[in-house]
Amino acid sequence: MKLGNYQVKLEKKLRVGGWEAAGISILAILIALLLVSVIFLEAKVNPLDGFTSIFTYAFADQFGVPLTINRSIFILLCTCAFIVPIKAGLWNIGMAGQLYGGALAAFGVAYAFGASPSGSQNLTLAPGLIIPLMMIGAALGGALVGAIPGFLKGRFNTNEIVVTMMLNSVAFWLVAFMIKDGGPFMGAGGEGEGFILPPSLDAPQILGGPYTILLALLLAGFLYFMFARTKLGYQIKTYGQSPSAAKYAGISPYNIPVLVFVIGGLLAGLAGYHLFAANPGVYKITQNYGDFGDLSFYGVICGLISLENPLAAIPIALLFGGLTSGARFVQGELQMGFGVDYAMLGILMITLVAFQFFYRNKIVWKKLEKEK
């Protein structure tokens, strides 16, 4: 294409450097926020005021900061759940279903050891043992849901995207079955939410926040190490580059899909555990659990923007956690309509989709020689 004296051409990038990628990601986020300004303008709010309120609430408010941290932990765990399979070239769109599985399993453990909807507190095991068992249960519950697409992919080469999407809906209705209309986990209030854990099963806290923050950061660090340094990480990446080449290198094309989806499901299960069983002041499967399933898709965005790097995902998860909690706040504060945070999710996602292009191509400007 010619533009004035310049020849404009697209060239394929062979690889994207770390800093260049970070630059593109930051630009994508900035442009998305610029587009969000349109929503502010439409609601007759000065975008600067809007963003100031969002960021002040998210990062400098005594009520906002804990919420931001809570959501960031959740988003980080979902991001890791997305990253592990995508390293193998497989798409985990099923964090929602896996986190529901984790939440059900965690409460199932509590239920099995005596916590019950009627509020009875005759626990049959020491709370100090039940709490870690709940966490392990959640991890296994998520892993179980994750194992299904992994197994089907490995054994039959079934498309994992459609399977994980279907399982999201299956798990969504299973939770409804468990907590609504007289389901076994229904709370005493009968308001369509799960039972509340007895206070003795409240998870430990760090500085008044959920201890899962340590869990999430450790796991992100561990995954980074796994992909950078271990044989397993290398095998997963090789499979991601080319499953058939991996086969010749002696890597099982059956085990890798199962493994990455089990790990992904496990991480998403922990995200569900964090939300419902370790979140101070919640300790139950809430009526609006579906909203958090939707929120888990920030994991996809975060995983893509961080270019599948679990450490780079940490600041991005923090930013997104802040944006979602702040957006919820401004819509009340500035009398905007409901759903600003959802609109922002949509705009961030679609901007990122458009920006994929720049990770893969670069635009080259070349001055044309004057014809003599």
């Binding site: 929503i39 089907l152 279907m166 079955f177 939707d294 898709f297 609109a343 679609i350 990122l352």
Partner: protein, 291 residues
């Protein structure tokens, strides 16, 4: 009981029309996993326009237009920019879900208009759905355009060499698909369940996506599948009709999704692909670049 079957057929119409849209674009080689998002756009804007203007016609037209527009966006991302179609579809779904939550929220209420008159106890759209099934079948098995669409979905480079404009054919298919999905969303919001609430499609778009795989890209099987899924969904609302006190309605709702997974697995087996493997468009989901 008759009423139950009528409701089931009305529900199936929405699956049929949305899934036919997806079938057409998949035949051209483009995958859109974001049907739910396109339908939400059509449903929400159609609802708002019909409610504010009092005109069903305007509501449907706007829904079709916005569906086409979103289709155009997907086409641009997937064909022109050559991006990963799954990511693009996800983006469209999340955009649809996010923006419509915000745009539609002030309209969280019943439509409050006279119901669209029924024909023989059924929604008129049921007959439209049947007509579209036949037209789609005719398009793909009897017309040159259908053959062109199929060839760009099977092997775009060969199609290009034989003089077919791959980009234009795919654009037309994807935009048409978007219009059908927008229409399906509007039928849901203006006829089947005329009460807006946040994210009120409850995964119908994903059922429609599943239906296309289920149908082996055949419009008649797709129609049969829609009736099956529509009935299953309706049963989930009234489980007492079949198995009183045995299965919760929530468990019923998982059935269409579980069946879909079963069908997908069946389709992936060696036995199946050696027998029927040719059904799937060969170039589905792969970006195409002119040499």
């Amino acid at each position: 009981m008759l009423d139950f079957f009528a409701r089931s057929l009305n529900a199936s119409t929405i699956f049929t029309i949305a899934a036919l849209g997806e079938l057409i674009e998949q035949r051209s080689g483009i995958l859109n996993v974001g049907i739910e998002g396109v339908m939400l756009f059509g449903a929400t804007l159609g609802f708002i326009v019909a409610k504010t203007t009092g005109s069903y016609l305007l509501g449907f037209l706007v829904a079709i237009a916005i569906g086409g527009l979103i289709g155009l966006l997907h086409a641009f991302f997937s064909i022109t920019l050559g991006g990963n179609q799954v990511v693009n579809g996800m983006g469209i779904w999340i955009l649809g879900f996010g923006l419509t939550a915000y745009i539609g929220y002030p309209y969280t209420e019943p439509l409050g208009m006279d119901r669209i008159p029924e024909i023989g106890g059924l929604s008129p759209f049921f007959f439209l759905g049947i007509a579209l099934v036949i037209i789609t079948w005719w398009l793909f098995s009897k017309t040159t355009l259908g053959l062109k669409i199929r060839s760009v979905g099977e092997n775009p480079s060969v199609a290009e060499v034989s003089g077919i404009n791959v980009t234009a054919t795919r654009y037309v298919s994807v935009v048409t698909s978007g219009m059908l999905m927008g229409l399906a969303g509007a039928i849901y919001a203006l006829d089947y369940n005329p009460v807006w609430s946040i994210n009120f499609l409850l995964g119908w778009g994903f059922i429609a996506l599943a239906l296309v795989f289920f149908s082996l890209w055949n419009p008649f099987i797709l129609f049969g599948g829609s009736v099956l899924f529509g009935t299953l969904w309706q049963l989930s609302l009234n489980p007492q009709l079949v198995l009183p006190d045995i299965m919760s309605r929530y468990i019923w709702r998982t059935v269409p999704f579980v069946i879909t997974i079963g069908v997908l697995v069946l389709m992936s087996t060696k036995w199946f692909s050696s027998r029927w493997g040719a059904a799937k468009p060969e170039a589905l989901g792969l970006p195409y670049e002119k040499e």
